[in-house]
């Protein structure tokens, strides 16, 4: 079956290592997203899976067979490129059928597949047009059609939505996800946009500087980031962090020498360890007067800025020397300089090692 396995795959350009020993196993029918900031090696990894880039060290298996020496066309893979790679001189129809023509698929079969794909993507009325006569979204669909028509069990996508406007991007996200589920294909999808990763993936792999940071289900990654980088990379706005000192004797934390915060939860951390506290913006809620304080911690803060977005409000304030953001539902008319209390559930707090950035509460995988 269409299982893709990466075994300690690395890519070197000269002496520079751009992908470092990436290992993972992508299951058949899975939507797997490679995500990370630009230059993290995610595209290179994808291109190594495609066979467009040579694998420096490590082993790639598709369906259990080693693929390192197999040319791209022998890997049972189709690919959607960032700029779609549509042949500008061919019609939509010829673009979609190019691969089938090259592989000398029977004419009648070609027609059948074309019809099905065109219907599935709603591009039947565009078949005689040239790519330059299409809008961005239509081109995207044609590129998808070309990948689907080959009926390969694995599809690779390299930032396919980055050339579309925000509204269309949201639309195509759901459409690609729907197609993948309908066809039951294995999808390996590269993006720098954590929102795409969160919304589309069955599992995601976060990469940074060619190293795997975390692999897991989007919500697991979101709720239990393996390290500080993943914590700050996921979520919009990202996770709030602040350096602090762990005081084991008092079972709590000292924030930049100013404030003591009792934290009953974490055990097994040495006294006086420098740590970094992390808290999602939506975990910080306003503490209303008269509310009981049990099981939640409170922080007095001074409002630095307010963004009212209509359905939610983002309130900014400093904790220690860091600017924090809290996301509250509804419209909150706070004023700059106003003092208020915010509360949070200690269970939602993440504590990271101050030196290595590793999450002290979770172990990876």
């Amino acid at each position: 079956m269409a299982e893709v396995e990466l075994r300690r795959i690395s890519k070197m350009y000269g002496s520079q290592k751009v992908v470092n020993e990436v290992s993972t196993r992508i299951l058949p029918g899975e939507f797997f997203v490679l995500v990370g900031p630009s230059g993290c090696g995610k595209s290179t990894t994808l291109r190594m899976i495609a066979g467009l880039e040579e694998i420096s060290t490590g082993e790639l298996l598709i369906g259990g067979k080693p693929m390192n020496q197999v040319p791209p066309s022998g890997r049972n893979i189709s690919m959607v490129f960032q700029n779609y790679a549509l042949y500008p001189h061919l019609t939509v129809k010829d673009n979609i059928l190019f691969g089938l023509q090259v592989r000398k698929v029977d004419k009648a079969e070609q027609g059948k597949r074309l019809e099905r794909v065109a219907e599935m993507l709603g591009i039947a009325h565009l078949l005689q047009r040239k790519p330059k006569e299409l809008s961005g979204g239509q081109r995207q669909r044609v590129a998808l059609g070309r990948a689907i028509v080959s009926q390969h069990p694995i599809c690779l996508m390299d930032e396919p939505l980055s050339n579309l406007d925000a509204k269309l991007r949201g639309h195509m996200r759901t459409e690609i996800r729907r197609l993948q589920q309908e066809l039951g294909i294995t999808m390996i999808y590269v993006t720098h946009d954590q929102v795409e990763a969160m919304t589309m993936a069955d599992r995601m792999m976060v990469l940074r500087d060619g190293e795997v940071q975390q692999v897991g289900k989007p919500l697991d990654v979101y709720n239990h980031p393996a390290n500080l980088f993943v914590a700050e990379f996921t979520g919009a706005p990202p996770m709030n962090t602040v350096p602090a000192i762990w005081l084991a004797d008092q079972a709590g934390i000292e924030l930049a020498g100013q404030r003591f915060l009792p934290l009953p939860m974490f055990h097994g951390i040495k006294d006086q360890t420098p740590v970094v506290l992390g808290l999602r913006p939506e975990s910080l809620q306003p503490a209303l007067e008269g509310q009981s304080m049990d099981a939640s911690c409170q922080l007095p803060v001074t409002v630095q800025g307010v963004e009212i977005l209509g359905s939610e409000t983002i309130v900014e304030f400093t904790v220690g020397d860091k600017l924090w953001k809290a996301k509250w539902n509804g419209q909150w008319h706070c004023k700059r300089g106003e003092t208020m209390h915010v509360r949070f559930d200690p269970a939602q707090l993440n504590v990271f090692d101050g030196e290595t950035g590793k999450n002290l509460a979770v172990t990876t995988n």
């Binding site: 791209p72 066309s73 189709s78 960032q82 042949y87 500008p88 001189h89 190019f98 691969g99 090259v102």
Partner: protein, 295 residues
């Protein structure tokens, strides 16, 4: 009223911007063309102190002139011999120079080098190569035990010798256009084709060549006009001989005008050549243009 004035103002502005180049065009292109056209209906040779109108006599004489037909057929063979070969060779060289991993710039320079050399120098170099007995080519022929050949002195060989030289001279120039064209083709297209497992011949036939068509079109028009325009080598090498075997239309016009001093006839010949070039360019442009994909 105001609208008309505004329009006039805009137009005036455009004309003023065009004026400098227009003056030169009028003076050195349009005026001589019209003068040539008028002169072609006059007798203007050394025998007539003032040019006088003689209707289509020049054209009549031309049709009866054996040399004219000889020169015209020569030129057509010259075009057939040089245009497709030099264009195809240019494409092949560009593909190779683009793919080459080592010595890319050396290969490009080597291919482009004949273009940089002036035609007069090229003619002199090849004059030496083609020289019987002690020429370079004769030496090579001797090694292979072949007899000596007088390339430029033989009516059968002289045209081939010229065609070969011009291909050598021109292909590198056309290669530059193809190289630029190749670099305009997105690498993603080739990667996409390789995902499908297309052979390199399929990739060339279905992707590279069609996408280079605008370049091919442009280059072949240039090559064709060059085959009528390039006559410098004749001055050095053969002067059109032996017995007009290597003579070309433009050189014949030059001879008629400035050796025989028959300016009326030379004008008529010029008009014929211009019309011929226009016809071919029009065919290439309107006939083939529709089939070409432009980005």
């Amino acid at each position: 009223m105001g609208e008309l004035r505004a329009k006039w103002k805009v137009n005036m502005y455009a004309w003023l911007l065009l004026l400098p180049s227009l003056i030169f065009l009028l003076l050195f292109t349009f005026y001589p063309v019209i003068q040539t056209f008028i002169l072609s209906f006059h007798q203007a040779d050394l025998g007539s102190p003032e040019p006088f109108f003689n209707g289509i006599d020049n054209y009549k004489q031309m049709v009866e002139d054996e040399v004219f037909w000889k020169v015209l057929t020569n030129n057509i063979w010259f075009a057939i011999g040089t245009v497709p070969t030099s264009v195809a060779l240019a494409l092949a060289m560009a593909l190779f120079a683009n793919k080459a991993i080592r010595g890319k710039s050396f290969i490009r320079t080597a291919y482009f080098y004949p273009t940089v050399v002036p035609m007069i120098a090229v003619a002199n170099i090849w004059l030496f190569i083609y020289t019987p007995e002690y020429g370079a080519l004769s030496h090579v022929m001797e090694w292979f035990g072949k007899g000596d050949m007088n390339w430029l002195g033989d009516q059968k060989n002289v045209m081939w010798a010229m065609i070969f030289m011009v291909i050598w001279k021109e292909a590198g120039y056309f290669m530059i256009f193809y190289l630029a064209g190749l670099q305009n083709i997105s690498q993603e297209l080739y990667e996409s084709a390789s995902m499908e497992g297309a052979s390199s011949w399929t990739v060339f036939r279905r992707i590279t060549f069609p996408l280079l068509m605008p370049t091919t079109m442009f280059v072949s028009i240039i090559a064709f006009t060059n085959s009528f325009k390039l006559v410098d080598h004749l001055v050095i090498m053969t002067k059109g001989g032996p017995d007009n075997a290597s003579n070309l239309l433009l050189y014949y016009i030059y001879e008629t005008a400035f050796s025989f001093w028959d300016q009326g006839m030379a004008s008529a010949l010029t008009i014929v050549m211009v019309v011929l070039l226009l016809l071919v360019a029009a065919f290439q442009f309107f006939g083939m243009d529709k089939k070409i994909h432009y980005n």
